[in-house]
């Protein structure tokens, strides 16, 4: 059990975890500049094509990319432009990502720079040997189909590059902030959310906890698995704060009322409390979450922050591995059956000799795709003619390993 005192001692040892936070694009930049103040000890870099947007920021390192392509203006919603801009400045990105263990990328998807450049930043960061976690804001529904499709395509690319992508749908932000919240309030909440998320990881790793989490644990859990994540937190005070905080976590619209935990493979639970937090508090906080995560690997950490007072904050990051889900393909025809989204290839065609995902994964095939099982092709064996056993929309007669997408080597 490490105390605060040992933190200061540890801080100079060579094993200290080095973190960096990249905000890519307009939304990403805004987010990181807003949360930079709260995150001491993390280097924050805002990456954007738009010089004007960068100039308005404080507390952050600024990096303008693609000046030759955009001439210091924004990408104007053009994903290819964003991608080219980032590719042009790959070397500078490499330099910025060097010597870092864990890199957070915050980007708003749907626009030009965020959508196009974030996957490149992720790739570069990954190539520099860092564990890459991305927070992606998805556009509002009312922003229209084009932006949504663009965001989805970008998300696919980002998922292929980053170790884990945590999506925050703007529509859900509204639910968090409430109907009557102003637009700026809602966005601020979104940014705070990312801040809390980053902070949760930071606390887990920065060795001042009651219960520490090793970087190695995290790397094991997330590393190269291209996870897909969701994220929630809750704060409560009072005598029954653990339970209330758990309830807040579960009720958080971001978590879809806890259902999603059941599907998660890795769940990170970070508990932050004041100096009077007891181990029983931690246990009460973590236990219901572990219980809600039957299949998952739960990584927990607990930290004490003197400024936190009587409050107790629980942050939950749940991820499901894309690789596992992807493996459903071998039983299905190899063709991209039922893929609803446009092929996310258009950004790469723009003069990129080696498509990003090929470079990283060795084969083109490894690009995660939005997919669903072609039901008529799936074998039900001896239950072929019997009435399907439907449960929550799943046909239980289909072998579990097929529905879970577990690949069986032959």
């Amino acid at each position: 059990m490490a105390t605060r005192k040992s933190t200061t001692e540890n801080s100079d040892t060579p094993h200290r975890i080095r973190l960096k936070l990249f905000g890519v694009g307009g939304a990403g930049g805004n987010a990181v500049s807003q949360i930079a103040g709260a995150l001491t000890g993390i280097d924050v870099v805002a990456v954007n094509t738009d010089l004007q947007a960068l100039n308005g920021m404080a507390d952050v390192e600024k990096m303008q990319i693609g000046s030759a392509v955009t001439h210091g203006l924004g990408a104007g919603g053009d994903v290819e432009l964003g991608l080219r801009a980032a590719q042009q400045d790959t070397e500078r990105l490499e330099a910025a990502a060097q010597n870092t263990d864990l890199i957070f990328i915050v980007a708003g998807l749907g626009g030009g720079t965020g959508t196009g450049a974030a996957p490149v930043v992720a790739r570069v960061a990954k190539e520099q040997g860092a564990l890459v976690l991305a927070f992606a804001f998805l556009p509002f529904n009312f922003e229209g189909d084009r932006r949504r499709q663009q965001a989805q395509a970008g998300l696919e690319l980002l998922k292929a590059q980053a170790d884990a992508v945590i999506c925050i749908a703007n529509d859900k932000l509204f639910k968090v902030a409430g109907e009557n919240a102003t637009a700026s309030d809602a966005f601020q909440r979104g940014n705070e959310l990312v801040g809390t998320g980053v902070q949760a990881f930071w606390q887990l790793l920065s060795r001042k906890g009651l219960i520490n989490v090793d970087f190695a644990d995290l790397r094991n859990a997330l590393g190269s698995k291209h996870s897909d994540g969701i994220f929630s937190f809750g704060t409560a005070t009072g005598p029954d704060k653990s339970r209330a905080a758990v309830k807040a976590v579960m009720d958080n619209p971001l978590l879809d009322s806890g259902e999603i935990l059941g599907k998660a493979e890795t769940v990170l639970v970070s508990v932050l409390g004041g100096p009077d937090m007891t181990l029983a508090d931690v246990q009460r906080a973590v236990e219901p979450i572990s219980r809600a995560t039957p299949r998952g690997h739960v990584i927990m950490g607990a930290a004490i922050d003197e400024a936190h007072g009587d409050r107790l904050t629980i942050t939950v990051v749940a991820t499901a591995h894309l690789v596992a889900r992807r493996a459903a393909v071998p039983v299905a025809p190899r063709q991209p059956v039922g893929r609803r989204l446009p092929e996310p290839t258009s950004p790469q065609r723009a003069g990129n000799p080696a498509p990003v995902e090929e470079k990283l994964n060795g084969k083109k095939d490894a690009l995660p795709k939005q997919e669903h099982l072609p039901l008529e092709g799936v074998s039900r064996g001896r239950f072929d003619k019997s009435e399907p056993t439907l449960y929550d929309g799943e046909d239980l007669d289909v072998p579990t390993f097929i529905r879970r997408g577990v690949s069986l080597k032959r």
Binding site: R382, P399, T400, L408
Partner: protein
């Protein structure tokens, strides 16, 4: 042979086997298993009859075997029913006590139970059980027997289990064609719980999961009464089917793999299971790791579905006695550990505890439904036992002869 003792027979027409258990009681309380008859089932899928003729033959054979082993003639049985169509809910009924002296009598209790049962279920459904949970007198909670109490309003909570009428009738008809009389039917989970749980365990709260060949039936006891029940139409057949698809084996091979090599613990180091095939075909190798992985995923999923259901009903905190798993799948290697991990409760592989008899029958989890039916029969029969009529006897003897001739041929 005319019996002086009371004979109660439980008949389970299951997906993997048809099984008849003969119980005998001298005093109407203690039961002794005196005979068991079992044959493989061929006419049932997922707990429901799909081939009447095949099911009928199976029943005839199983009952004949039970008769032989018990040395009695069987004329009527208690049968179990299962299937994904079975649903349940809890309901409360109430009546106003209109007596002058405000004393609650048997009539009021009967009326309140009728009232609680009178609920909207789908047109084609029929109530199988309406099990009383507790009574309230003028709002006062937790009354077990309100008879002779004073009060102006009597309420009762009941647990109602219902399902599709015609599907129950199929089972009953099939048994009647044998011909045997069906004295009553019970859902499998209820019957299993009667065999597996002691009264104390019922009071402490427990969940019984009967993982059979075609269905997984579960039932939850809380404070001595049934609080929740359900059927998931997934069972051992699905395991075999998964293996057959996953390892590309024919069904009988898959079944053999499951029984001989299957386990829910996925071995860390893979080993190959080699088996010989017909002359001329090369030996086949199967990866044990994959076999176990397929099984592990399926069973974990099924148990998780039960767990989810318990969570939905917020029953987790009332299960002090833990989880009792019975049915054929309870024999799966590694099940206890897996269930322990999933439920985080004490897990017992259920043996029939409430009845005496040969260990081979009592300790086999796959007999618990039929054994529980005997228990259920004893409770619901209570002096209704009538000697078989002459026609019945004749029919039976005739049928018995036919059966004997058939087996000889």
């Amino acid at each position: 042979m005319q019996t002086k003792e009371r004979i109660v027979v439980g008949l389970e027409v299951g997906t993997s086997k048809v099984c008849a258990v003969v119980g005998e009681t001298m005093d109407g309380v203690n039961l002794q298993v005196i005979g068991v008859g079992q044959v493989a089932s061929t006419g049932v899928r997922k707990g429901e009859i799909v081939d009447m003729d095949a099911a009928m033959q199976n029943i005839t054979a199983a009952v004949a075997a039970a008769e032989d082993s018990a040395g009695v003639e069987i004329h009527n049985v208690f049968a179990s029913v299962s299937g994904g169509h079975i649903r349940c809910f809890n309901n409360r009924g109430s009546v106003i006590v209109t007596n002058d002296d405000r004393e609650i009598g048997d009539d009021e209790v009967r009326n309140v139970l009728l009232n609680a049962k009178a609920v909207n279920i789908p047109m084609d459904h029929v109530v199988v059980h309406a099990i009383r949970q507790r009574f309230y007198v003028d709002g006062a909670d937790g009354i077990q027997n309100p008879v002779r109490m004073l009060g102006s309003k009597l309420e009762a909570d009941v647990h109602v289990i219902h399902g599709v009428r015609t599907r129950f009738q199929n089972t009953i008809r099939c048994i009647k064609q044998v011909p045997l009389d069906v004295q009553n039917i019970a859902v499998s989970s209820f019957a299993s719980a009667l065999a597996v749980l002691t009264t104390d365990q019922q009071k402490q709260g427990a969940v019984v999961i009967d993982m059979g060949g075609g269905t997984t039936d579960y039932i939850v006891y809380r404070e001595g009464t049934i609080q929740h029940s359900g059927v998931i139409a997934v069972g051992g057949d699905h395991l075999t089917n998964d293996i057959a698809i996953g390892l590309r084996l024919p069904m009988n091979r898959a079944e053999q793999m499951k029984l001989e090599h299957g386990s829910l613990d996925i071995p860390l180091a893979d080993e190959a299971i080699t088996f010989k095939r017909e002359v001329g075909l090369p030996d086949l190798q199967v990866s044990k790791q994959q076999l176990c992985r397929i099984m592990n995923l399926r069973v974990a999923e099924t148990l998780t579905l039960v767990k989810k259901e318990l969570e939905r009903q917020k029953l987790f905190d009332y299960l002090a006695s833990g989880v009792f798993i019975t049915g054929g799948c309870a024999r799966l290697r590694g099940l206890e550990t897996m269930a322990g991990e999933i439920f985080a409760l004490p897990v017992h592989i259920g043996h029939s505890q409430t009845i005496n008899g040969p260990t081979s029958a009592i300790e086999s989890p796959e007999y618990s439904t039929a054994i529980g039916l005997v228990r259920y029969g004893l409770g619901s029969q209570r002096d209704q036992h009538q000697p078989p009529t002459a026609t019945q006897k004749f029919k039976h003897t005739f049928q018995h002869l036919v059966q004997k001739v058939r087996t000889l041929m």
